[in-house]
């Protein structure tokens, strides 16, 4: 059809406009496919690894060997395997945890080199090896022995190798894990023995099976300690935070952006087809059939949507693997291969094609419902005053304000298009900054603990704590009817100077009462003044606490009670304690300790974490600026196109260029400001929902904190983008000649 020769010419004549639309489609389909591919692959890799390598369901230590293990395995249909653990100090700040090689549970996956075959061999966690300069063949001296690195290993229960299960961040510069032969432990002192358990019946509630199993151990008189369910084990669960976070934020977010782009482009084509109504009417009058005109007007949207979707998908496919690898490098999971989903590619291509095809079809069909005579008269809504315009009573404003407002109100669809575009770009931009801000608030402003070291003892201690230290006692609890949430209730000194809690206004909270951290209070839905009952994980008995205050802390999920009250409630001796907080390093024999936590490890881990965060925020800011620029350029160029006659007339009347530009190009300013303002509550609400979801998944509660500084930064970026789009469009205003107003017209 000769008409279709117009298609390429129209594209060429409005290069920037169509390039903008094209970019928006490419960006939409690209981000959608990458994000979907990323989360699907991560989930797949982690699930495959944990299932094939038999990740434990729980682990614990005991006061004595479980002698009837085979009987227990049969009775509870479980696999029980004992492994050894020893923390070897390579230097004052570097610890390597040696674990014995297992065969049934948490089976090590050798990801480079070879498996263990003899004594003196060691498999290292690859991030630790990289951070500390070890390669296959390197030798490490520790525990009075020399080990040769024969390979790198991934462990299902150390996917995120945290030193302590309650840590949040991991730093391979300070800590790592390694696997050695079980026999190597025979001449190492103070080795911990840990039992791993995995239930064979995956259909039943694992929690319920765990409770029964634990009850059985109690009946046997076995005292268990360090009981950790896999759902509460951050070493195994943090990776799921990334996956769930990816799914929660990345898939719906690009999907929403994608649909929004499609909607925006749909509205754009609608306007463009309406603008062509005279030509549509003329062709219709000349005898063109509806379907011929429909086909012709659908050509550009379909071409752009299909090509954009295709290019976006083609660019996305090779990006998935490096992105998965970058993401997974933060965790220790073997990567046998990356799967590319062709269903996602199909969605990436078909969504814009269907959406834009359908919207342009509906528009052209609705246009063709009008008679050719009507169409040839031009846009029938040109002179209509809509409800919005009437409601604002524009008469009271001065001419230029009235003109700008009217310009926006006259076209509700264009207004919606601009508003949605600016709001979504601002939300995206604020999103990144808010995540950064929340994390920053949680980690950098947390000054609850004033200690440098936390020592946990194997057995209950009595009497006074060593010099410079404060005694504490702690027990693991869960709310009634919800075993999924575990937390510590810690007994601390009533006059503790090491635990310094503050309320939301920054005022100190006394330690001679029961205080809950904000993170846990939010998670459990507890307010100050509530009386709550929790079940002690050790003895299964309920204990009731009256909450006096909420401490403004997000890192820790704890309830603090005075140690005397804690001991009394749990029936422990009055002057007993399980651990001490200390400002100095204490000389405690290692056989007495079950763990040491050093605060000096935090900064390294935080630097690494924030480095990644800042790159992510920068990327989000760039992407949202591009989206905003495209949208603003599209709307501004559309405004100019629809106002060519007015611009021409203004020129005839003697308006200066500056005045014309001000009236035409600045008419969107108030919509952009309003769109940005609206983006703040939208972002806060969605962030709250996402954080709530993440909190349940990984024991980490984040506050939604919007910093006024970042809001100003985002606003400045949006406004600069707007200025840039105006600059790009100014040339088009200059190009409108005065003769247009005199030549063009309808009867």
């Amino acid at each position: 059809m000769v008409l279709n020769r117009r298609v390429l010419r129209i594209l060429k004549e409005n290069k920037l406009r169509y390039l903008g639309i094209f970019m928006l489609i490419i960006l939409g389909s690209y981000t959608f496919i990458v994000a979907a591919g990323l989360s699907q692959n991560l989930a797949n890799l982690v699930t495959t690894f944990t299932e094939e390598h038999m990740q434990e369901d729980l682990s614990f230590s005991t006061d004595r060997v479980i002698s009837d293990r085979a009987e227990l395995e049969k009775e509870f249909d479980v696999i029980i395997e004992e492994y050894m653990s020893f923390d070897a100090e390579l230097s004052d700040t570097l610890t390597l945890r040696l674990l014995s090689e297992t065969e049934k549970l948490n089976i090590p996956a050798v990801i480079e080199g070879r498996g263990l075959s003899g004594s003196g061999e060691i498999l290292l966690d690859p991030a630790f090896a990289k951070a500390n300069g070890y390669s296959v063949g390197s030798q490490i001296e520790m525990a009075d022995k020399t080990f040769t690195v024969v390979g790198f290993v991934s462990l299902p229960h150390y996917i995120y190798p945290l030193k302590n299960v309650n840590d949040i961040l991991y730093s391979p510069n300070d800590f790592g894990v390694a696997v050695i032969n079980r026999e190597e432990f025979s001449d190492i002192d103070n080795v911990a023995s840990i039992y791993s358990v995995r239930f064979n019946d995956r259909t039943q509630s694992l929690n319920r099976q765990a409770v029964q199993f634990r009850e059985r151990l109690r009946v046997e008189g076995i005292t268990v300690s360090d009981w950790i369910d896999i759902m509460n084990n951050k070493r195994a669960r943090v990776v799921w935070a990334s996956i769930i976070g990816m799914k929660t934020m990345s898939v719906p977010l690009p999907a929403a952006m994608f649909l929004l782009s499609c909607l925006i482009i749909g509205i754009m084509f609608w306007r463009m087809i309406r603008q062509e109504s005279v030509i549509v009417g003329t062709l219709y009058a000349q005898g063109y059939r509806r379907r011929e005109l429909t086909r012709h007007y659908m050509a550009i949207p379909l071409l752009l949507a299909f090509a954009g979707g295709m290019i976006g998908s083609l660019l996305a496919l090779p990006s998935i693997e490096p992105m998965v690898m970058a993401m997974i490098s933060y965790y220790n999971v073997p990567v046998p291969g990356i799967k590319l989903s062709f269903l996602n590619v199909l969605i990436g291509i078909l969504t814009p094609t269907i959406f834009l095809g359908l919207s342009s079809y509906l528009v052209i069909r609705s246009e063709l419902k009008r008679s050719p005579a009507e169409l040839m008269k031009g846009d029938k809504q040109k002179t209509k005053v809509n409800a919005l315009e009437r409601a604002f009573k524009l008469e009271r404003f001065k001419f230029s304000t009235k003109f700008k407002l009217r310009e926006q109100f006259r076209s509700i669809s264009r207004l919606v298009f601009l508003f949605l575009g600016v709001t979504s770009a601002s939300v995206l931009m604020l999103f990144g900054f808010t995540i950064l801000n929340s994390m920053n608030h949680v980690f950098n402003t947390s000054d609850v603990y004033q200690f440098e070291y936390e020592y946990a003892f194997r057995d209950l201690q009595f009497g006074e704590a060593p010099e410079g230290a404060e005694a504490f006692n702690a027990g693991k609890f869960y709310p009634e009817n919800n075993e999924g949430i575990e937390f510590y209730i810690t007994g601390i000194k009533s006059d503790s100077r090491i635990v310094t809690l503050k309320d939301s206004k920054g005022n100190p909270i006394p330690n001679n009462q029961t205080n809950i951290t904000k993170a846990l209070a939010n998670r459990l839905g507890i307010k100050a003044g509530d009386t709550v009952t929790f079940i002690n994980k050790e003895d299964g008995k309920p204990y009731t606490f009256h909450i006096d205050a909420i401490a403004d802390s997000y890192v820790e999920q704890f309830i603090y009670v005075p140690i005397t009250e804690f001991n009394k409630k749990l029936g422990l001796p009055e002057n007993s304690y399980m651990g001490v907080f200390s400002t100095i390093k204490l000389d405690i024999p290692s056989e007495k300790l079950s763990g040491i936590k050093s605060m000096s490890e935090m900064p390294n881990a935080m630097d690494e974490f924030f480095g990644q965060m800042i790159s992510m925020v920068a990327l989000m800011t760039i992407v949202s600026s591009i989206v905003a620029l495209i949208i603003l350029y599209l709307v501004t160029s559309l405004i100019i196109e629809e106002n060519r006659n007015t611009i021409s007339l203004f020129k005839v009347f003697g308006y200066r260029r500056r005045e014309i530009k001000s009236m035409i190009l600045n008419s969107s300013t108030f919509v952009i400001v309003a769109g940005f303002i609206l983006s703040i509550p939208i972002m806060a609400a969605s962030m709250g929902a996402i954080y709530g979801y993440l909190g349940n998944m990984i024991n980490l509660v984040l506050p939604t904190i919007i910093s006024p500084l970042y809001v100003v930064v985002c606003f400045v970026v949006i406004m600069l983008t707007y200025q840039l789009s105006k600059l790009l469009c100014a040339k088009r205003v200059n190009e409108v000649s005065m003769s247009e107003a005199l030549k063009v017209g309808t009867e």
């Binding site: 062709l283 063109y288 059939r289």
Partner: protein, 232 residues
């Protein structure tokens, strides 16, 4: 009669206001004749022409063109009627801006069953040398010539011209009128033309004066003045 309009009525409603645009029009024009409709703005000229051309519908009455009762055609049949039988020339040309002169004509020849040759009609309107130019590169008169070429390329039975000289200067207008006369003679095309310009009536076989939706006068010209001799 080639065109036979009887008791044609049409009204528009805007909000609560009903405007009777055509109040029982009677009009007859023979095959191969040129008819001119004269009248002030708002007299219903364009509406009458649109209904005859099948781009609009009358409320009641009969419109018969070459035996086809136009008012009884459904939308698809109206499209076919316009496609095969009617050529339009508009005051503001309505050319497709992104197509060349040749392609603007091809747009219509493409959908016709027995179109004339494109070069032949371009030759007839003296625009063959500008076949590859875009509308923006042409003067108003040249654009109107292209518009006429586009209308006649399908060899229509009826050529409807809505103020074909309305946007043109005197000399250009005369050349356009001459061209229309040539088309009428060469192809035997019946032409119905709307104009404000009373002087143009001299080149028509029949002149219809419209006022407030009614034909107030119908004149058959005994002496037809050649277009090039018309003056105003």
């Amino acid at each position: 009669m080639f065109i036979d309009v009887s008791n044609l009525k049409k009204s528009y409603t805007t909000g609560v206001i009903k405007t009777d645009v055509l109040k029982g029009i009677e009009m007859k024009l023979g095959k191969g004749e040129i008819g001119v409709i004269l009248g002030p703005s708002g007299s219903g000229k364009s509406t009458l022409m649109n209904i005859i051309g099948g781009v609009d519908r009358g409320d009641s009455g009969k419109v018969i063109v070459d035996g086809i009762e136009v008012n009884k055609l459904n939308n698809d049949e109206l499209t076919e009627y316009r496609r095969e039988d009617i050529g339009f020339v508009f005051q503001f040309y309505n050319l497709v801006p992104n197509l060349t002169v040749g392609e603007n004509i091809e747009v219509v020849s493409n959908i016709s069953k027995s179109p004339l040759k494109i070069d032949e009609v371009l030759e007839a309107v003296e625009m063959l040398d500008k076949k590859h130019r875009f509308p923006r590169e042409l003067s108003g008169g040249e654009q109107q010539r292209v518009s006429i070429a586009r209308a006649i390329v399908k060899n229509p039975k009826l050529l409807l011209c809505d103020e074909p000289t309305g946007a043109l200067d005197y000399q250009t207008s005369r050349s356009i009128l001459k061209l229309l006369r040539q088309v009428n003679k060469k192809y035997g095309t019946t032409i119905l033309m709307i104009t404000h310009n009373g002087a143009i009536a001299a080149m028509a076989n029949k002149v219809f004066r419209l006022r407030s939706g009614e034909v107030v006068d119908e004149v058959v010209n005994q002496v037809i003045v050649p277009a090039e001799r018309i003056e105003w």
